[in-house]
Each structure stands twice: as C-alpha cells, then as structure tokens.
C-alpha cells in the first residue's frame, strides 16, 4: 500500500494481512553532498515504488525518513520510527537506504536494513532506468520473501 488516504484506509481495514512496513531512509545534505544525497533519494524512492508494486497487499510504504547528515541524533530518530511502527502492529520493518553508515545498525534499530549502493540515474533513458531498478529489486524481493518465511516458522 502506498502512503495516501485511500490506501492507508485500506491498510486499517486489512491490518491482519499487511504486516510489513517499508521505510525509505534518506540523507538530507544541503551542502557539498547535495547532489549525492538527492541521487540517493531518487534511487531509493524508485526502488521502493517497484517493491511496493510487487508486494502491495502485504506492505505499507511510509513517508521517507530523512535525516541531516551531520545530526548526532539520527540513529535515535530512526530507532523511534522502528519502535512506533512495531507499536502499530508491523511484524516486519524494513529500512531502505543507499547510505552505508546504516549497514551494521540492524540490531540497534530492531529492523531489517536493506542497503543498496545507489546508481546515479541522471538523464538515463526511462527503460534503462527501469531495468537497473528491476535488477536490484529482484534480489531484494528474495530477501523480503525469506524474512517472511522465517517469521512463519
């Protein structure tokens, strides 16, 4: 489900089936790292949109969680998101990020972190963009399905 009025309403009716939250985790850098941070955002968003389409009936995409790159609280803030989502009944919480700083933070966040090095999509043709995203997404599809199966055991 996407983060809009209609689909969140559906989520509330179908909570028993929609047990997974997908959170885009993106840096906001307004200085020298601006372009890179924007590219990461672009990439992560496209990826999450793709995954949402695959798994619409079981996932809810949240608004992106953006953090200032030099903020000392960023870990604590992300952790709050994960806690709130668990409190709302999500059994699985996935953060999607292109920032490698999060790679080893799964335990602290009590959530899965899917780290994907971002590809600068720039002025690439739409169809090429799509196949790049699709290739990345396929591997993530498997990771998500495995997590679901693990939980069922």
């Amino acid at each position: 489900m996407n983060w809009n009025g209609k689909e969140t309403a559906l989520f509330q009716q179908q909570k028993e089936y929609i047990d997974t939250a997908m959170v885009p985790l993106v840096p906001a850098d307004f200085g020298a790292g601006m372009i890179q941070s924007a590219e990461q955002y672009e990439f992560v968003q496209l990826l999450v949109v793709f995954l949402e389409r695959q798994f619409k009936g079981r996932v809810l995409t949240t608004p992106p969680h953006a953090y200032l790159t030099d903020s000392p609280n960023r870990l604590a803030e992300a952790k709050k998101w994960s806690e709130k989502l668990r409190g709302a009944g999500f059994k699985h919480v996935f953060f999607f990020t292109a920032d490698s700083a999060w790679r080893d933070k799964e335990e602290e966040l009590n959530a899965s972190v899917i780290w994907i090095p971002s590809v600068p999509l720039g002025d690439m043709d739409d169809s090429i963009k799509y196949s790049i995203i699709e290739n990345q997404a396929k591997q993530i599809v498997n990771i998500i399905v495995q997590k679901w199966q693990g939980y069922a055991e």
Partner: protein, 167 residues
C-alpha cells in the same frame, strides 16, 4: 483621496473579474480538453498498447510480457510499465492474464514457489489455476483479470484488463 485614478470599488471589480476569469477558465479548460482531445476519447474506448512479444512464439506455457506506455493523470505524464502472463490455450487462442492478485494486489508469478501449473502470490500464498481461476481455500475470492488482446505485424498488443470471463 478622490484623486486616486482607481476607486476602491473599481479595484475590487477588476480584481474579482480577474479571479473569476481564472476560475471559469479552470473549470472550462478540462471540459474543452475532453471535447477536443482525440487521445482521451481513444483511451475511453479502450485502445491497445504494443508489446515486443511475437505472437508466433507463444506456447501453452505462460510467459511474462512487460510493456510500457505513457499515461497522463492530473499531474504528471509518466511512463508506466505493466506486465501480463501470456500463453495459448488448447484452441490456440492467446490468453493474457493480469498479474495483479485479486486479494490485495500483489504481483503473482507462474509456478512461483514450486506450485506446479499454477500462479502463486507470495504475499498470503494465494493460488490461481492457469486460466486465472482462484483456488478455493486461498485468500483471493475472484479470478485474475484478463487483457483484451490484438495482433499487429506479428506482435502482441494488450488492452485494458477486464474481469475474467473465461473460467
């Protein structure tokens, strides 16, 4: 005071007419567009999107056909990519099924998770027969939608998915 070339009343009149004009244009423009834009009419009549799939290459095993086309909604024109599962039935007719699960909308795959001769939905283990019929006892309550199909220069074309009438 009275030396002002535009009185308060006139000023209000002008501005309100201006605003009203914009509002009227805002209401009329879409109507005009609907009336004159043949593309929009075509869409309503259900036109076909081309794919790269050769009809001659289709067999009785469903294959995934991706196709993209431009779609304009109120804000953006965007390139959308859709998918169909396509095969030929015993009579040699082309069948194209929508991969959107009728439970809550995940994407189903042919023989996913080792389910022989069925479509599988990974989200809540939904199952469908090859013709799209939902398997009772799994979450989906309706069969998969069907795309109207057409052929042009040997290539498959797909329309807008409709409720399944072949099961």
């Amino acid at each position: 005071m009275s030396k002002q070339p535009v009185s308060r009343r006139q000023f209000l009149n002008y501005t309100l007419t201006g605003v009203g004009g914009f509002m009227a244009a805002g209401m009329l423009m879409p109507m005009v567009r609907f009336a004159v834009d043949p593309v929009l009419k075509g869409e309503a009549a259900g036109d076909f999107h081309p794919t790269q799939q050769k009809v001659a290459d289709l067999t009785d095993v469903p294959v995934r056909v991706d196709f993209s086309y431009e779609q304009t909604d109120a804000w953006y024109t965007s390139e959308v990519t859709s998918t169909a599962w396509v095969y030929k039935n015993d009579k040699g007719e082309v069948i194209a099924l929508s991969p959107i699960c009728k439970h809550l909308g995940c994407t189903v795959s042919w023989e996913g998770n080792e389910h022989k001769n069925q479509f599988f939905c990974p989200c809540h283990n939904g199952l469908y027969e090859k013709n799209g019929k939902n398997v009772p006892g799994t979450p989906p309550l309706k069969p998969l939608d069907v795309y109207p199909t057409a052929e042009k220069d040997g290539l498959l074309q797909l329309g807008k998915p409709q409720a399944n009438n072949i099961v």
